[in-house]
C-alpha cells in the first residue's frame, strides 16, 4: 500500500532523514518508534506530502505520492503531533470546517460528524469551545478531524503526547477500533509500550536512520536476549544457584543479595521447576519478577542508550 524507498531529507548540514526505507501493507498498524529527534515526524511530513524529500521515493499503491498529491491527500488522514484546531471555535465547528476542507457538505457532512463524534466519544461536548476542552479531549478531536473524509490510511504522529493515562488508553483503543474497521495506521511514538500494544510491524529509528524493523517478535529475536527471572528467597547460599542452573532451559544463575538472577527461555514453563527446586532445598520464595525482552531492550541493545534519552 505504501512504500518508502531510500528517503533522504537534509536541512542544511543536518540529515534529518538518512536513507529510510520501509513498506506498510493494507491493514497494518505500522509503528515508527524512536526518541525525540530521530526523524519520525520528518518522515511523516514527507509521507503526508507536506514536505518534499531531498531524494528518495514514496509510493502509494505503486504511484509516487508527489505526482498524485491531490488524490493521495484525499486518501490519507493525518493526525499531527500538535493540536491543529481552532481553539475559539466549538468542537462541532472545527469538525464541520475540516470536513468541508475535504469536500464534504450538507447531509453527508452532518452524518460523518455524527459518526466521528461517536468514535472519539465527544458527542456531549461538541457545542463547547475547544479551548474549554481538556488535553485528552483536544487530542480526540484532533484525531476526529482526520477521520471525517474516511481515509484509507491514518497517519498519527505522537497522538498521545501530554495527556493523562485514561485519555491515552482511550486513544489507543480508538486506534485499534479504527484498524479493525479496515483503516491502515502509521503510528509514531517514543513510547515503547504504545507501539508494543498497537503495532504488528515496527521500525525503530534513531538519528534519521532505521536501525531495526520487523514484527515485535522478529525484533526481540534479533538481539537474542533471554527472559530474566529474579527469584527473591528467604535466605540464599551458593548451593541454590547451582541447583537452579540444573533446570533445563536455564542458561545462567547468579546471586545478588537475597535474590537469584536467572536467564532462560520460556519463562512460563520454568517457573514451576524453579519453585520445586527452591522447596527441595528448604527455602521459600518471597517474590518472583519476570522480565521479558522488549523493544526498549532492543533499542538499548542497538544504540547503547535508553529510548527516552
Amino acid at each position: 500500500m505504501l512504500k518508502v524507498e531510500n528517503l533522504y531529507k537534509n536541512f542544511g548540514k543536518v540529515n534529518a532523514v538518512d536513507g529510510v526505507s520501509f513498506e506498510v501493507k493494507k491493514g497494518d498498524v505500522f509503528g515508527l518508534l524512536g526518541p525525540n529527534g530521530a526523524g519520525k515526524s520528518t518522515t511523516i511530513s514527507m509521507i503526508s506530502t507536506l514536505l518534499a524529500p531531498s531524494s528518495g521515493e514514496i509510493l502509494y499503491d505503486g504511484k509516487s505520492i508527489f505526482d498524485n498529491q491531490k488524490s493521495v491527500r484525499q486518501r490519507l488522514g493525518v493526525v499531527p503531533q500538535e493540536i491543529a484546531l481552532y481553539p475559539t471555535l466549538s468542537g462541532y465547528e472545527n469538525l464541520r470546517f475540516w470536513g468541508s476542507i475535504y469536500g464534504l457538505k450538507g447531509d453527508e457532512l452532518k452524518k460523518r460528524i455524527d459518526e466521528v463524534s461517536d468514535i472519539i466519544e465527544l458527542n456531549g461536548r461538541l457545542k463547547d469551545r475547544v479551548d474549554k476542552y481538556s488535553g485528552g479531549m483536544k487530542r480526540r478531536l484532533n484525531i476526529g478531524a482526520a477521520l471525517l473524509h474516511m481515509p484509507e490510511m491514518l497517519i498519527m504522529d505522537e497522538p498521545t503526547v501530554g495527556i493523562d493515562p485514561q485519555s491515552r488508553n482511550h486513544i489507543l483503543d480508538t486506534v485499534l477500533k479504527l484498524n479493525n474497521q479496515g483503516i491502515t495506521i502509521i503510528y509514531t511514538s517514543h513510547y515503547m509500550e504504545e507501539v508494543e500494544y498497537l503495532c504488528n510491524k515496527v521500525c525503530i529509528m534513531d538519528e534519521g536512520k532505521i536501525i531495526a524493523s520487523g514484527s515485535q517478535d522478529e525484533l526481540v529475536e534479533m538481539i537474542r536476549e533471554k527472559t530474566q527471572i529474579n527469584v527473591r528467597l528467604n535466605r540464599v547460599d551458593a548451593m541454590i544457584s547451582e541447583r537452579l542452573k540444573e533446570i533445563k532451559g536455564v542458561s545462567d544463575a547468579r546471586i545478588s543479595d537475597d535474590t537469584v538472577v536467572l536467564h532462560g527461555e520460556n519463562a512460563d514453563t520454568l517457573l514451576a521447576d524453579i519453585a520445586l527446586k527452591v522447596s527441595e532445598n528448604g527455602m521459600f520464595i518471597k517474590s518472583i519478577d519476570v522480565k521479558k525482552p522488549n523493544l526498549e531492550a532492543v533499542f538499548l541493545h542497538l544504540t547503547g542508550k535508553a529510548l527516552r534519552d
Partner: protein, 455 residues
C-alpha cells in the same frame, strides 16, 4: 474557499477583544468626540479660512490712468465738452479708482472677505498655486482693466471688461462660490454704470455742457458700490452643507478603525501556522493562495460590517447625514478593498517573518500615524503644513476626505480620484502579498517541534 471565509469570520467574531476593538470602540469614540468637540465645529467652520484665490493683474494701473486722461482730452467722449468740463471730469475721474473698488470695496468688504481670501500674484505663480491646489481659483483682471473701468464709470461709453475665473477641477464647489461672487460684482458694477449713464446723458441732453452735478453722481456711485448686495450665502447653502463634529468624527473614526481589521487579518495567517492548522490545510490539499484569499475576503467583509454598523449607528444616534448613499457605498467599497489588500500584505509579510512584530507595529504605531496624518484625530487643515503634505500617505485620509466631500454635497466626480487611489492601493498590496507568499517554504522538524523555515 467559502468554508475558510466562514471559519475565519467566526474565529474573529468569537474573539471578544477583537470585536471590542473593531466595532464597539469606534462607536464609543465617535460618540464621545462628537460631543466633546462640538464647539469646534460651528456652521461652516470646516472652511474657516474661506476660499483662497489668486488675483492676476494683466494691466498697468498708472499707464491706464494716463491713457484715460489723454483719451478724455483727445478722444471721442470729450466732444461737445468745454475745457473746463473736461478738466472737471478728469479731476473727478481721478477719484474713481477701479483697483480700490475691486480690491478694497469689493474683495475687502465684510460680506466677501468672510468667504474669499485673496493674494495678488503674477500669472505664472498663480497657475502654479492653482495646480498645487493652494488656491481654489485664479481671477484674472484683463489688460486695460483700469482704463476700461474708468471709461465705464466716468463716461457715457461702455467698454467690455472680461474678468476670467479659472477653477481647479477638484475645487468645483469653491469654483461655484468664486464665479458667483464675480457675477455679483459684475452685475453690481453694471447697475451702477446704467445709473451713472442716465445721469450723464440727461445732463448732456439738457445742454448743460458742464457736469456741475458730477460730484453727486460720483457720490451716488460710491454709495451703490458700498451697498452692493452679493448673495453668496445662498450659493453655499445650495451646494454645500456644513460639517458638524458628529459628521466629522463619524467618518474619521470609521476610516481609522477599519485599519484595525487589516491588523487582525494580518495576524491570521501566522496564527494558522502557529496553530498548525495551516499545515493541516495544506495536507488536506488547500493551496496557500486559497488560504490567503480567505484572509483577504474576511478583512473585506469585516470592514464592510464595520462600515455598515458605524454608518447606521452614526445616522440614527448622532444624526450624521452621510450624503449620497450610492457615493458613500462606492467610497466604502474602495476603502474596504484597500484595507483588505493591506491586510493580505501584512498577513503574508507576518507569515514570512515568522513573528507578529509587523502586525503589532502596524496596530500600535502605524495606524496611529496614519490616523494623525489622515485627519482622524484633528482635521488635516488645522495641522502644520508638513503634516498636511504627508497626508497622502494615509489610506484612511483618502477615505475620510472622500466621505467629508460627499457629506458636504460633492458628487462622485469630485471624489473619484480618491476612490481610484484606494482601489490602486488595494491592488498593489494584494500583488505584494501574493509575491511575498510565493516563496518556497519548508517545515523543519526537530525534537517534535515543527518549525517553518524560509528556503
Amino acid at each position: 474557499m467559502l468554508s475558510i471565509i466562514i471559519k475565519d469570520l467566526r474565529t474573529i467574531l468569537s474573539d471578544k477583544h477583537a470585536v471590542a476593538i473593531i466595532i464597539i470602540m469606534p462607536l464609543i469614540l465617535m460618540t464621545i468626540l462628537s460631543f466633546a468637540l462640538k464647539s469646534s465645529f460651528s456652521d461652516g467652520d470646516y472652511f474657516d479660512e474661506g476660499v483662497k484665490i489668486a488675483v492676476v493683474k494683466l494691466y498697468d494701473g498708472e499707464e491706464d490712468s494716463r491713457m484715460f486722461d489723454e483719451t478724455l482730452r483727445n478722444g471721442i467722449f470729450s466732444k461737445n465738452m468745454g475745457e473746463e468740463t473736461i478738466t472737471e471730469l478728469g479731476d473727478s475721474s481721478r477719484d474713481v479708482d477701479p483697483e480700490k473698488i475691486f480690491f478694497e470695496e469689493f474683495l475687502g468688504s465684510d460680506e466677501v472677505s468672510k468667504i474669499i481670501s485673496y493674494q495678488v500674484e503674477d500669472e505664472k505663480t498663480a497657475m502654479e498655486l492653482l495646480d498645487k491646489k493652494e488656491v481654489s481659483a485664479v481671477v484674472t483682471l484683463p489688460e486695460k482693466f483700469v482704463y476700461d473701468m474708468k471709461v465705464n464709470l466716468v463716461t457715457p461709453f461702455r467698454n467690455n471688461v472680461d474678468i476670467k475665473v479659472e477653477v481647479h477641477p477638484d475645487k468645483s464647489i469653491e469654483g461655484v462660490v468664486v464665479k458667483s461672487v464675480m457675477e455679483s460684482y459684475s452685475s453690481a458694477i453694471a447697475s451702477v454704470i446704467i445709473g451713472k449713464n442716465v445721469i450723464i446723458e440727461e445732463a448732456m441732453a439738457n445742454g448743460v455742457g458742464e457736469l456741475k452735478n458730477l460730484d453727486i453722481v460720483m457720490e451716488e456711485l460710491t454709495n451703490v458700490l458700498e451697498h452692493m448686495d452679493i448673495e453668496i450665502k445662498d450659493v453655499v447653502v445650495e451646494e454645500r452643507k456644513s460639517i458638524t463634529s458628529a459628521d466629522y468624527y463619524a467618518a474619521a473614526m470609521m476610516s481609522m478603525f477599519i485599519l484595525f481589521s487589516a491588523g487582525h487579518g494580518g495576524r491570521m495567517l501566522l496564527e494558522e501556522k502557529e496553530n498548525k492548522t495551516y499545515g493541516r490545510m495544506i495536507m488536506a490539499g488547500t493551496s496557500k493562495f486559497s488560504i490567503l484569499s480567505g484572509k483577504f475576503v474576511v478583512v473585506l467583509l469585516l470592514c464592510s460590517i464595520q462600515i455598515t454598523i458605524m454608518i447606521i449607528y452614526s445616522h440614527f444616534a448622532l444624526k450624521v447625514q452621510w450624503g449620497s448613499i450610492v457615493n458613500t457605498a462606492i467610497i466604502s467599497a474602495a476603502a474596504a478593498f484597500a484595507v483588505a489588500g493591506l491586510g493580505a500584505f501584512i498577513a503574508s509579510a507576518t507569515f514570512r517573518a515568522g513573528n507578529f512584530k509587523l502586525a503589532n507595529t502596524f496596530e500600535s504605531a502605524i495606524i496611529q500615524g496614519m490616523a494623525l496624518l489622515g485627519g482622524s484625530f484633528f482635521p488635516v487643515d488645522v495641522m502644520p503644513k508638513a503634516i498636511q503634505n504627508l497626508s497622502f500617505l494615509s489610506l484612511n485620509g483618502l477615505a475620510l476626505k472622500s466621505y467629508i466631500k460627499v457629506m458636504t454635497g460633492y458628487g462622485l466626480n469630485d471624489v473619484i480620484k480618491n476612490v481610484a487611489a484606494l482601489g490602486l492601493i488595494g491592488i498593489v498590496f494584494l500583488i505584494l502579498s501574493v509575491a511575498i507568499l510565493s516563496g518556497k517554504e519548508e517545515h523543519y522538524v526537530k525534537h517534535n517541534k515543527v518549525k517553518t523555515v524560509k528556503a
